[in-house]
């Protein structure tokens, strides 16, 4: 552990899962039979300002479960939670779980060995991983600059060495500043990355924004020497006092046509790489997502206002951007592969995002804390705990695949109760899947 802190994030619980894995899905086993448990017993007081609409929603298993009957017929025995198949395709990559590891960005916390440890563990899990922007102009491609930690190439190799050949994939971000370093061209033309290209497991992510600071580019704090070194590529400003300099990347200028053409340009230039597009939780996120899918993006990532491992101005952390649940509701039924990130670390929030249309959820801060807790297996344990929890929840909802989840599986507090349609016990089986999105109809 390096003493990384994540205020406002359930850090203690994440670290416990990184140490103990699936055991942390349940209350302590040694208290079984000796203590009574009820709602809220295990909860740690969380600053209510940090909870969003998705936290407030509840998963609501029905009594009647026709899809369980289908599964029962298929299995010739009663289905249990293990029978939930979590395997899916995440932005063009096969993944055993509806989970991927989000970019950590160029923030100092992420740039050290944590990036390498996360790469190894994500590879072992066979889940896709995103490598953050601004690592090349800051840290170099082949060899990292002093103190900048593992290079992109080292992380690509660490992932590829551990990953099963038929699963996962690595997605490399490029921002406006990265365009100067031509990160994508560098990676795509590198013979040592050829295996990933040949096996269809390389992708590029066009990053338009991030959850922690919607409308701004990446921000880090550097010392005066680094500030001088980076001044030709970034805005570096002496606004922090105490010797620290603010290094700002630009957010980049985007219009509908610019997004459409950049996606096409990526597909044209890198025909064998997958194309991902990441948006901040903007009020026009539904329009933006549709634009990207229609231009041919393999995945659209929405980073809710709870997202981001990086460093952001206080006003942005507290007051800017849509919460993740609202982003997902605005998008409605996705036209393509939708990925969701933002304060996800356990199965509940993950399954809620999946029910609202996401194909997979991204682990950002949680992954960083997990590898910080145990560089060898922390992330693997955290993800296995999440997977078990997801299987328990999805099976409780009477579903056995991730894509069988629907917005009907959620209840939003404060929404008027809809009166059930008159019962028709002898009628035909009603397909419980619905196109209705948002649970507020």
């Amino acid at each position: 552990m390096t003493g990384v802190r994540a205020p406002g994030f359930p850090e203690r619980q994440v670290r416990a899962r990184a140490r103990h894995g699936t055991a942390e899905v349940f209350p302590p086993a040694d208290r079984y039979g000796a203590q009574l448990f009820g709602a809220g017993d295990d909860a740690e007081p969380v600053d209510p300002r940090l909870l969003d609409d998705l936290d407030a929603a509840r998963l609501v298993p029905p009594v009647f479960v026709p899809q369980r009957l289908e599964k029962l017929i298929e299995l010739a025995r009663e289905p249990v939670h293990d029978d939930v198949d979590l395997a899916t395709t995440v932005g063009g990559f096969r993944s055993p779980l509806p989970v991927y590891v989000s970019a950590f960005g160029s923030t100092r916390i992420a740039a050290g060995d944590a990036g390498l440890a996360a790469s190894r563990q994500a590879g072992r899990l066979g889940v896709p991983m995103v490598i953050g922007e601004n690592l090349v102009p800051v840290g170099g491609y082949r060899r990292a600059a002093d103190g900048a930690g593992a290079s992109i190439l080292a992380r690509l190799r660490a992932y590829a060495e551990q990953c099963p050949p038929d699963a996962g994939g690595v997605v490399v971000q490029q921002s406006t500043e990265d365009a100067d370093s031509e990160v994508w061209n560098l990676v795509y033309s590198d013979p040592s990355v050829r295996d990933l290209v040949d096996s269809g497991r390389l992708g590029f992510e066009l990053k338009l924004g991030q959850g922690a600071k919607p409308g701004l580019g990446g921000m880090t704090v550097v010392d005066a020497a680094d500030a001088a070194r980076l001044a030709d590529r970034f805005a570096v400003r002496d606004v922090l006092g105490g010797g620290g300099w603010l290094r700002c990347a630009s957010p980049g200028t985007f219009t509908e046509e610019i997004v459409r053409q950049q996606v096409r340009f990526m597909r044209n230039n890198f025909p064998r790489a997958r194309v991902w597009v990441k948006f901040h939780p903007g009020r026009d996120v539904a329009h933006a997502a549709a634009t990207a899918w229609r231009a041919g993006a393999d995945a659209v990532t929405v980073d809710g206002a709870q997202g981001g491992t990086g460093w952001a101005p206080r006003a942005f952390l507290d007051q800017v951007g849509l919460p993740l649940g609202e982003c997902l509701r605005r998008i409605g039924r996705p036209e393509g592969c939708l990925l969701a990130s933002g304060r996800i670390w356990e199965g509940g929030r993950a399954v809620k995002a999946l029910a609202l249309g996401a194909t997979a959820v991204g682990l950002g801060r949680a992954a960083l804390l997990a590898v910080d807790t145990d560089a060898e297996s922390g992330l693997v344990r955290l993800v296995r705990a999440l997977a078990l929890e997801a299987q328990l929840l999805i099976s409780a909802l009477g579903r056995y695949t991730v894509d069988a989840l629907t917005p009907d599986d959620l209840w939003w507090p404060g929404t008027p109760t809809t009166t059930a349609a008159p019962a028709a016990p002898a009628g035909p089986t009603v397909d419980s899947r619905t196109d209705r999105i948002g649970g507020r109809a």
Binding site: T253, E257, R260, Q261, Q262, V263, N268, F270, P271
Partner: protein, 336 residues
Amino acid sequence: MHHTDHQPDGPAPRPVPLGEHLAAPTTRAAMAVQQEALYAAREYLRGQGCTELLPPLVGPVTDPGGRGAKALDVDYYGQPYKLMTSAILYKQASLRGFDRLFYIAPNVRVEPPETAGTGRHLVEFHQIDVELAGASRDEAMEVAAGLLTHVVRHVLDTVPDVLAGLGRDPLAFTELLTGKFDTCTHAEAVDRLRGGGHPQSADAEIDWVGEETLSREADRPFFVTDYPKGSRGFYDREDPDRPGVLRNFDLIAHGGYGELVSGSEREADYATIVTRMRESGENPAKYDWYLKLAREGIPTSAGFGMGVQRLVRFLTGLDALWQVSAYPKLPGVVAP
């Protein structure tokens, strides 16, 4: 059908060590053809009123290009400079003093390793690079067709024995020498490829396999026009009447040899150039010198680049592009 089809179905010949390659009779024959081709190209372009300039080798920016090729970085007095992937931006700037100009320009593109097998890519190559102030696409296409026809005729006249020694049948050029080249649009090319079962994207450049397929079906060179925006650099002009369509062209050789020429009318309007840069993911700040000129005013123009090695391969009928370069560097292969 008189032409001899190029047949790359067998195993392509593999590059040999440089010393051996330089001494090979094939290499000597290819250089003899190249010398005549360059002579004829200069003769033709000077006849068109073009001035030959010598191109720059490094600069703060170069052609961002496409298809995943990487520019090589150079430390230039501490500044990050690039080796020219093409001198397109300098060609446009040169129009201020030279209405009609051309280069025989060396280019370096670190192509993705996947292009090593196309037989059509080298990391180091040369272009006959032409730019014509005030010209339309039609005029540029006419000059490109005239250039190719003139070069072929000259080579057939001056080194027929060399072509015979390489087994290149002069009848392969019969239809070409009539000077009448067909034109189809990118959309029509996509339809033809899809009709033949090839999954060609409508939004992208014709892929390597598709290009070779079209090339093989033809008996003379042909133009493909109207590529979609997103498949080409920001400097290819978007048709003001048809948003999303570029006023550009490729000239594709017949017989499976593929693209010889890429050209276009150019964007000259400052605001349009900045917007197009963003659409292709570029950071306008790094194009500082070029955008300053564009703000002051760059003449409208059209132009093209004809690949010298591709031209010589087409003339000689050799299997792979490396055979017609004295110092070949294949994508993904570290070579002297």
